[in-house]
Amino acid sequence: MAGFKEARGDLQLESVTKTFGDFTAVDGIDLTVPRGSFFALLGPSGCGKTTTLRMVAGLEQPTAGRVMIGDTDLTGSRPYERPVNTVFQSYALFPHLTIRDNVAFGPKRRKDKDASTRTDDALELVQMTQFAGRKPHQLSGGQQQRVALARALVNHPEVLLLDEPLGALDLKLRREMQVELKRIQTEVGLTFIHVTHDQEEAMTMADTVAVMNKGHIEQLGPPAHLYDLPRTRFVANFLGQANTGVGAIEGTDGEHLVADVFGTKVKISRARSQVHDGEVLFGVRPEKVTVSRQQPQGVGNDVKGVVRDVSFLGVATSYLVDMPSGATWSCYEQNLDVEPIDLRPGDEVWLTWNPGHAFGVPVEEA
């Protein structure tokens, strides 16, 4: 095949920018995705996820920057020259071809001798063998999505781009496909770039998660790191829940910063705060907060609030607590005790947490 680039290695984006007219959809992204890793791209609608994938696939050329796989510069090359396949957000199946011919399209173009067996295997994998003879318009949305997945997977590309590939599936099938995808990815050792709206999906499947916002990457890292130590307000709120408050940093106490949040002195580990003077957005995850009726002795880091809502969840009880600042915090109590504290809305409670769990990020969104 003329022009086909047998590139191998890590996927690298170097200050990749894409503008449409005077609108910047992707703004100078730098990114390295190690070969064989499962990379999730998470972000709100319109933040540039699809545009980023399209530049990797070659369907869109970056306005500036480079796209590389290993040492091969793919910038400017055509989509069919790249060892990259896409599962389109809108499936984009060939309406005039049967399911089988849809899946066999890639292998046939590459003159693969095993095209037929590979197609069968791919159909088997997504449980679509029995529909092989149908046309796409005769399938449900979820079935079409699985065909789109098979059509890309069958080629074993160096990089597989998945643009919300499981969005139309019901929960059960979705979980099955997640496991299946993860299995394929580890088995074949392909690089997967997975775009999703589903945080849980991103966190359970990916080795690395990148949170995107307004065309740039806010933060990138292993899911647990991102959750534990968000570096921006956007990430803190986008990934999981966060109890937050705005405060002014007043000084230090050993390894901790001390901030005044609405009359309460809170401590944040120095290393866990992105700002060290002036205003800070202080935050702590709900499951890290303990609730009690009495003020805990000698711990510090405590705030008195009023219970607004109690919901019993089985393994835990969830509380919504109105804070003096006017914010509403959420926290959990594991149902471990023989005699639970049995709080009612309107009760006064003390919330406390280990300063090591708190984080500080800039108040302004970048």
Binding site: M1, A2, G3, F4, A57, G58, L59, R78, P79, Y80, V84, N85, T86, F88, S90, A92, L93, F94, P95, H96, L97, F105, G106, R109, R110, K135, R151, A152, N155
Partner: protein, 306 residues
Amino acid sequence: MSSLAQVSQVAGDPAVHPTAPAPETEKRSWTAYLLLLPGVLWLGVFFILPLVQLAAVSLQSRFPGFPGYYYRDLNFENYLSALTDYAPHFARSFLYAGLATFLAFVVAYPLAYAMAFKAGRWRNLMMICVVAPFFTSFILRTFAWSQILADEGPVAAVLNFLHLLPGGHIINTPVAVVAGLTYNFLPFMVLPIYASLERADPRVIEAGGDLYANGFTTFRTVTLPMSMPGVLAGTLLTFIPAAGDFVNMELLGPQRGKMVGNVINDQFLAVPGGYPVAAALSFTLMAAILAMVFLYVRRFGTDELV
């Protein structure tokens, strides 16, 4: 209503009227018939009746000695004469119509493709240009072509200057007829192809590129097949009227070697006592076109257009 009837049937009660569920469905179908009525009436009066009349005429015989007078008959010789005497005219009609259809396709496809994918903000202007000829009459446009292709006209002059015109003329040749047919039916080819291309999801065409098909292969395996319903409609809309056309031959064609449309026209209007043969020719033409269309659609038809 219907559930009541079912229950009573299960219970074996003969007292309930067995046609109980009928009124509702009857009402619904009446609405449908009412909606059909104007169309059916129109077609009945202005299409079916004349067709029956024409069929009757095509089997009539002349009164010997009284030119222009006929009597009712089952004279199939009219058809025999249509097929034997005018076989070359039929052949020419289908040949010229086929050539014009092919040429129109060759011109129309790139045009429709450009309009659908490349034109951007020029798209509406291009669309207006494609339909603009409809604002003047068919005959007038064909007259204009007779000027353009005339011996003193620009086309013949340029070609003669370049010594590219062996016969020296374009006007009054089959070439002019095919050119006229191609021109006159071009919009009927462009519009359906454009519609089917415009409807195609650009992501699907991108998927071809993503799956290792280069530009040409993507066109051959994705874009073209996706636009087949439009191509099919366009070729039918061009071939059918072109095969029965007589205006282009009349105004642009040679004196001898006419098309079947001209023969029918002459038999009806110019030849005394030509009515039955003209009618038989018309029916034969219709049957032949129907048969060809049937075979063509059977061969190339897609799910959307069969």
